[in-house]
């Protein structure tokens, strides 16, 4: 046996060893709190800041927004159909068939299947009252300016949908077109009549 062990005092049998309380080092507390904070920030950032609409693999609502399929004519037509069914379909029919005595049809109408779009776009922007011949039938109309309150893009979607549905074939209407025609129509007396509509370029 070494001298060292021999010299150590053996524990007295009638006292139990006691561990004294000592404070936790302050750096451990600081490190733990910092790690907790950074972990929380990382967790938040990678779960879209707890937004219930953001799921993986999307990290933020901005990233999710950028992946919404928006471009393309198919999407434009889908948006246009949604708006048409809400706003226009009530009178003009969900299939563009019109309503006898009230709203002329869109399907196969010579006012829809035009080369230019100025007349067609002007009708929802300015409203239309009076006599108009559609598909050989004279209609007495009083259409309010249903499109005046719509945004350029929304109205463009609706008009494009009408011009490309139920057998109609027409070029798409863009938001820029609607904006230009809305500006041109500003000074025009409203609502339009059959005559003032025909005075506009097609």
């Amino acid at each position: 046996m070494s001298d060292e062990l021999k010299s150590s005092t053996p524990p007295t049998p009638d006292t139990e060893p006691v561990a004294a309380r000592s404070p936790v080092p302050i750096w451990i507390i600081v490190l733990t709190l910092t790690q907790l904070f950074l972990g929380m920030v990382y967790f938040d950032h990678h779960s879209g800041w707890f937004n219930s609409q953001v799921y993986g693999p999307y990290a933020s609502s901005e990233e999710l927004e950028s992946y919404q399929p928006k471009s393309g004519e198919a999407a434009m037509l889908a948006r246009g159909k949604a708006r048409y069914d809400q706003v226009c379909g009530l009178c003009h029919g969900l299939n563009g068939e019109g309503k006898p005595g009230q709203a002329p049809p869109f399907a196969g109408s010579e006012w829809v299947n035009t080369q230019g779009i100025q007349r067609f776009t002007s009708i929802p922007l300015g409203g239309l009252s009076g006599q108009l011949v559609v598909k050989g039938q004279t209609w007495s109309l009083s259409m309010p300016a249903m499109g005046a309150a719509m945004s350029d893009a929304d109205l463009a979607d609706v008009l494009t949908y009408i011009r490309n549905s139920w057998g109609n074939k027409g070029s798409p209407v863009t938001a820029a077109d609607v904006k230009a025609i809305r500006a041109k129509l500003g000074a025009h007396p409203q609502p339009l009549t059959g005559e003032s509509l025909k005075a506009l370029p097609e």
């Binding site: 799921y55 993986g56 999710l64 399929p69 471009s71 393309g72 004519e73 999407a75 948006r79 949604a82």
Partner: protein, 267 residues
């Protein structure tokens, strides 16, 4: 007991902490889920299940289907394909523009850039958004499961083991009611390697008296009861199949977008 209060406090914090993490936080985050609309449409999603399918959910639950089947599709990524829809007036310019570009399996930024390049050359292109992940590769669904998919399920049958395939979108991939019934009665008759036990107690094998039952199962060749007998489903089997056929997650939503391929109608 020494330090009894401390032990009580420590267990309270430990249990309360996990309750907050596992119950409170998910409810706060996802508990407000409500009906939404299908992307680029005004159609509502989800619409409630028909009554028979709701009954079927209880049959699904009673037979322990969730022990082997999950109803949660996972998605690990998202990619874009750029699809040329019109070459415009100068196809050569468009060809030149896209010859140096990668058009498939790219991220949204690259896809936007490609569309801009094609538009500048006079053509037209669309971006198709495709959800990716092992579950989607297996054909179990088109997108990940989101909270809206489970709005009308009580209880939600998420499941955790995948001894069988995921069933979140099985109504889309297996829309044939007779196939589902035959599969429940004799799984190996339609899926050779199936590990699923037959659920024969959901059916009656009966002698054909006069006219065969209109509900009788139509088996593939070489399977089925012997001549003169037929297999008819019990109401439970019909409810279970109604529930399975009502499982659809095949629509794009704002929180799980993808592009529907245009349906090409056959002449």
């Amino acid at each position: 007991m020494k330090n009894g209060f401390l032990v009580f406090l420590a267990s309270l914090i430990a249990l309360g902490g996990s309750w907050c993490g596992f119950v409170l936080a998910p409810v706060l985050q996802l508990g407000g889920g409500k009906q939404t609309t299908i992307l680029n449409s005004t159609d509502l999603y989800p619409v409630g299940r028909p009554g028979m399918a709701n009954q079927g959910l209880q049959v699904y639950r009673a037979n322990g289907c969730a022990a082997c089947h999950t109803e949660q599709i996972q998605q690990s990524g998202v990619t874009c394909d750029v699809v040329l829809t019109s070459a415009g007036k100068s196809p050569l310019a468009v060809t030149n523009a896209i010859s140096s570009l990668k058009l498939n399996n790219i991220d949204k930024v690259a896809a936007d850039a490609a569309v801009d390049a094609i538009t500048a050359a006079g053509g037209k292109a669309e971006i198709h958004i495709i959800a990716t992940g092992p579950d989607i590769t297996r054909g179990w669904g088109r997108r990940r499961s989101v909270v809206e998919d489970f709005l009308y399920d009580d209880p939600v049958q998420l499941g955790s083991l995948r001894i069988g395939p995921d069933l979140a979108d099985v109504g889309t991939s297996r829309p044939d009611a007779n196939w589902q019934l035959v599969h429940l009665f004799a799984p190996q008759s339609v899926v050779t390697d199936s590990a699923m036990p037959p659920f024969r107690y959901l059916f009656h094998v009966q002698r054909i008296n006069g006219e065969p039952s209109p509900d009788a199962l139509v088996f593939p060749k070489g399977f089925g009861p012997r001549a003169g007998y037929e297999v008819v489903p019990t109401p439970q089997a019909q409810e279970l199949v109604a529930y399975l056929l009502s499982l659809h997650t095949d629509v794009p939503l704002h929180d799980a977008p993808f592009t529907q391929p245009l349906v090409v109608s056959k002449p």
